[in-house]
């Protein structure tokens, strides 16, 4: 039962839970107590003495942020002694704090400025020489340190310790010489290092990319979301004179609390890249050349129309994107279905049937064990990685990582290193152990004991390379802690995952690496689904959308992406519209297939590897340059709001699609009463979407607001299912297996175009285990040739035991062309070039 205690603060009485601090009790009464080092999301340490208050019967003043209330306690926060002490504390801080506010980036949003203004004295009595320490000392590529401005509140130290568990900062030396630093000035490497900039109450830690770019009060601040991974972290985009200058974390306890990863914080500046496309391009004499919008749209519309008419509508295909907003994706499939007349609509990274979203980005907090099935959240969704770390640090959550590459968070548990493509077998071995563990009580146990009899640890160890001891430890974590959270990636086999849930409860979810995979699916960017999920073979749904879109819709299922690409070569697909998807860097078959098309239109912000193959390229706005909604990896609906106008000559993707229809139908028809393509804003498209998609019916831009909207989802009951695991067999001459994934700073679009991320971008690097390098005479830094049956690429080797022997690992965008299929481990050979 909750114990309440009664306290009196400034004459007002309040009952609060035992264990509450004076500061929090005062907050409940609306009594403000000034603080410095205190930060609600960090452990209080009472270092700055700003929150000192008078407590009856206690000697001296007490720190309100660390002193717990007691029954009958009488507190005064505003006595002359308290006020004078605060002034004294501020005066002390200012004796050593340089008054370089005019050249300090923190000026205008500085806690010290604000506190001195509110509580400080007016005149400084300090006439002596100030203490001098290092100024402008970079701590890595993102954080600049000014030691003189530091007031030693230790917020940055505590954050790195308590959230990402990367205690890279600490206080060195003592007394007046104390400085916050890294070990011998090494660069910060925490993937979440940028948060210390937001946390710093003064200008001691500032952002290198934002340095001297603007004064805080000049910024136009737009609440929005990050679209650089599937987590959809809430942030504020700050712009000056239509230039997006920085992103800072924005509070949302259900998504990112208030933190950002360094990719999201610093990567948004890709919109300012000098490689942005600012004019449509048309291929003339084999070269892409600038053209006007009217020219390009008319040409694209006419060519697609011609091709569809001479053959049939089904030779046209539309590729949407998990990077594009719901509005753009919705219009793209509407264009394909209602204007062209085909269901050939799909996108790369579409969640497979049976895939489920996470219950929340914060789901790790509710898990006993986080099981990573061949995924590394640090690359796929860094904020999920942060929540795993937080869960491990505060709740003792364990991590069981299954896969060929060791994720950082496996330090909170065990890494079951196995050869690529054998993850399901390793999971089967865990099921084998759990089905025979007396701590596990579940009706499914008997069935599973039978189904898993072929997956005894020693047998699986032999077939996969995993260690028996690690398997036993992982099974022990699972049996002891229960409620696993299984995170899986694109190619996952869900049957053994379901079995694990049937044994232990918990949840499983697809760690969608792109910002809008679930949204694109919900918008009907799928060959067999309308917006909302109804089948294209469902006559009722077809009628209803046909009426809404004023068109006769095709009853035939369309081609899925892989079939579209395969069909390119055979002339089954002859024209394609690709919106904001760099297929060539993601899909093995794309480069070859797209070259054989008669006509390719690409809409994107950059001249991507895909756009380079196009006949017409139409430049589109980034998510921060238009309005749009996204559905994150927990199917939370959130708005990316317009922070700046797009560069001159650039249009939002949704408008480009509508304009393409215009160009085909002629302006007059569009203005006509029956036109369904007359959109002035993204909000209008959203209103149309809500009419056709039941789950969104109640939703408007206003109700989504800045916090987003999470539809209720009923937990589904999991039935155990039998499964069979196939072990990949290496063909003659291809002794190694290539696994592809995503790095924290991937060279994928759009992060590859960010100037701030440029120094840390993952290069064309291949991770090789020293054992595999030895016989081939490969050293770190050597150029190596990795070849599969599909082709070969040259990469730089890096020797590491982060990968298992027999496996080489690279970023997807470097090796997409080699893979047998997306998300599929591929047999390769490796040699020095």
């Amino acid at each position: 039962m909750e114990v309440l205690v009664n306290v009196t603060i400034d004459g007002q009485q309040v009952s609060v839970r035992a264990g509450t601090t004076i500061l929090d009790a005062a907050k409940q009464l609306g009594i403000p107590i000034p603080t410095f080092c205190y930060y609600a999301k960090l452990v209080g340490i009472g270092a700055c003495r700003m929150c000192l208050v008078e407590v009856e019967k206690m000697r001296g003043l007490q720190t309100a942020c660390t002193t717990k209330v007691q029954e009958g306690m009488v507190v005064r926060t505003n006595t002359p002694e308290v006020v004078q002490t605060r002034q004294g504390m501020l005066e002390f801080l200012l004796t050593n704090h340089p008054l370089d506010c005019p050249i300090c980036d923190k000026g205008g949003e500085c806690d010290l400025q604000d506190q001195v203004f509110q509580f400080g004295g007016t005149v400084s009595r300090y006439v002596e020489e100030k203490r001098h320490k290092a100024k402008a000392k970079p701590l890595g590529p993102f954080v600049m340190k000014d030691e003189e401005r530091c007031i030693l509140c230790r917020r940055c130290i505590r954050f790195l310790e308590e959230w990402p568990g990367d205690p890279e900062l600490d206080a060195f030396e003592r007394g007046r010489n104390t400085v916050v630093d890294t070990f011998y000035g090494r660069p910060l490497t925490s993937p979440f290092s940028g948060n210390v900039i937001d946390l710093c109450p003064v200008g001691a830690l500032t952002s290198i990319p934002f340095r001297f770019k603007a004064r805080s009060w000049e910024l136009k601040r737009t609440p929005s979301i990050c679209t650089l991974c599937g987590a959809g972290c809430n942030l504020t985009l700050d712009a000056k004179a239509n230039r997006l200058l920085r992103a800072v974390g924005r509070e949302n306890p259900d998504v990112n609390d208030e933190w950002l990863c360094d990719r999201g914080r610093f990567g948004q500046d890709y919109v300012r890249s000098d490689q942005r496309l600012t004019s449509p391009l048309i291929r003339k004499d084999g070269q892409l050349q600038p053209a006007t919008w009217d020219e390009a749209l008319a040409f694209a519309a006419r060519r697609i129309q011609d091709i569809a008419q001479t053959a049939n509508p089904d030779v046209v295909a539309a590729v949407g994107s998990a990077r594009a907003s719901n509005e753009a994706n919705y219009l793209l499939q509407k264009w394909a279905r209602a204007v062209v007349g085909t269901n050939n609509v799909d996108f790369a990274g579409r969640p497979a049937d049976g895939f489920a979203p996470l219950s929340s980005v914060t789901a790790p907090l509710r898990a006993g064990v986080v099981v990573l099935l061949g995924v590394d959240p640090l690359g796929d969704a860094p904020m999920v990685d942060l929540w795993i770390r937080r869960a491990a640090l505060t709740k003792g959550t364990r991590v069981v990582a299954i896969g060929p590459k060791r994720p950082v968070v496996s330090r909170y548990g065990v890494w079951l290193g196995c050869r690529p493509g054998t993850e399901s077998a390793v999971l089967a071995a865990l099921l084998h152990l759990l089905a025979r563990d007396e701590r596990v009580q579940a009706p499914a146990k008997a069935d599973l004991a039978g189904w898993t009899k072929d997956y005894a640890p020693d047998r699986v160890a032999e077939a996969t390379g995993v260690s028996v001891q690690a398997l036993k430890q992982a099974a022990d974590f699972l049996a002891a802690k229960g409620s696993p959270l299984v995170l899986y990636g694109g190619g996952a086999d869900l049957s053994p995952v379901r079995d694990l849930l049937a044994l232990l409860g918990g949840e499983a979810g697809y760690l969608a690496p792109k910002p809008n995979a679930w949204g694109a699916l919900l918008m009907g960017v799928a060959p067999d689904r309308y917006p909302g999920g109804a089948s294209v073979e469902d006559a009722k749904a077809r009628d209803s959308f046909g009426k809404q879109w004023d068109a006769r819709l095709s009853p035939r299922k369309g081609l899925a992406l892989a079939d579209m690409l395969a069909g390119c070569r055979e002339g089954i697909v002859q024209a394609m519209l690709v919106v904001e998807s760099d297929l060539v860097r993601e899909h093995p078959a794309a480069a070859e297939a797209l070259r054989t098309l008669r006509f390719l239109v690409v809409v994107d912000q950059f001249l991507t590897a895909t756009a380079e193959l196009a006949d017409v390229v139409l430049p589109s706005a980034a998510p921060s340059e238009t309005d749009g909604t996204f559905l994150n990896l927990a199917k939370r609906l959130q708005r990316a709001a317009q922070a700046t106008y797009p560069p001159k000559g650039v249009r939002p993707a949704w408008r480009v699609i509508a304009d393409l229809v215009d160009a085909a139908q002629g302006k007059d028809k569009k203005r006509g009463a029956e036109s369904h393509w007359d959109y002035e804003t993204a909000a209008e498209i959203w209103r149309e979407i809500t009419r056709g998609v039941p789950v969104c019916r109640e939703c408007t831009y206003e109700t989504i607001g800045t916090a987003g909207w999470q539809p209720e989802s009923a937990a589904e009951k999991v039935k155990p299912v039998p499964f069979a695991v196939e072990y990949p067999v290496a063909p003659e001459g291809y002794p190694l297996t290539l696994a592809a994934g995503q790095a924290l700073f991937p060279k994928a679009t759009p992060a590859r175009y960010s100037p701030a991320l440029a120094p840390v971008l993952w290069g064309d690097v291949l991770l090789v285990h020293p054992k595999d390098a030895e016989g081939r005479g490969i050293k770190t830094g050597d150029a190596v040739r990795v070849a599969s049956a599909r082709g070969a690429v040259e990469l730089k080797a890096r020797l590491t035991d982060e990968v298992v022997p027999g496996c080489v690992w690279a970023c997807l965008e470097s090796v997409a062309a080699l893979l047998e299929a997306p998300d599929k481990a591929t047999h390769v050979k490796l040699s020095r070039s």
Partner: protein
């Protein structure tokens, strides 16, 4: 490199306290005893054995003045300059040592024999002025006594 013996002693120290982190000070003392000073490499090794980050270990090592974060001579000469010793002429003792060794406070002689430091109270005010050379106290110091001590140390 920290010896295996030191590493296993640190492991034992960790078990001695309610919280293993409490073993950090004795662990650092152990490492310093073995190496004479705490180099970045040694600090990192201690961090690894302790399960702490290099920053956390470096922070503690830099707080305490008795941990040497630079190489010191074979003989670490620490002269007390606190109140009692100062009243009895500690500053002359320091001056004499500086002259005799040819170095300033904080420096090491080129032959690597002596490092000279000023320290706070050594807790032997009754026999001031006092200096400590490695683990030995030299009391009631005079210039002559220092000459003898240095000569004796040089002979060893």
């Amino acid at each position: 490199m920290l010896s295996d013996k030191a590493k296993s002693e640190i492991q034992q120290l960790k078990a001695r306290y309610p919280h293993p982190n409490s073993a950090l000070l004795p662990a650092l003392a152990l490492a310093q005893k073995e190496h004479g000073w705490l180099s970045p490499e040694v600090l990192e090794e201690v961090a690894e054995v302790m399960g702490l980050s290099p920053a956390q270990v470096g922070s503690v090592a830099s707080f305490y003045t008795m941990f040497n974060r630079r190489p010191v001579g074979k003989y670490l000469v620490q002269v007390c300059t606190n109140v009692a010793c100062s009243l009895l002429g500690a500053e002359h003792i320091v001056e004499h040592l500086k002259r005799k060794l040819g170095i300033n406070v904080g420096e090491t002689t080129p032959d690597g024999l002596f490092t000279l430091l000023e320290v706070e109270c050594l807790g032997s005010c009754g026999t001031a002025p006092v200096m400590q050379v490695n683990d030995t106290y030299y009391e009631n110091l005079t210039a002559e006594k220092i000459d003898q001590i240095l000569a004796e140390l040089r002979r060893r």
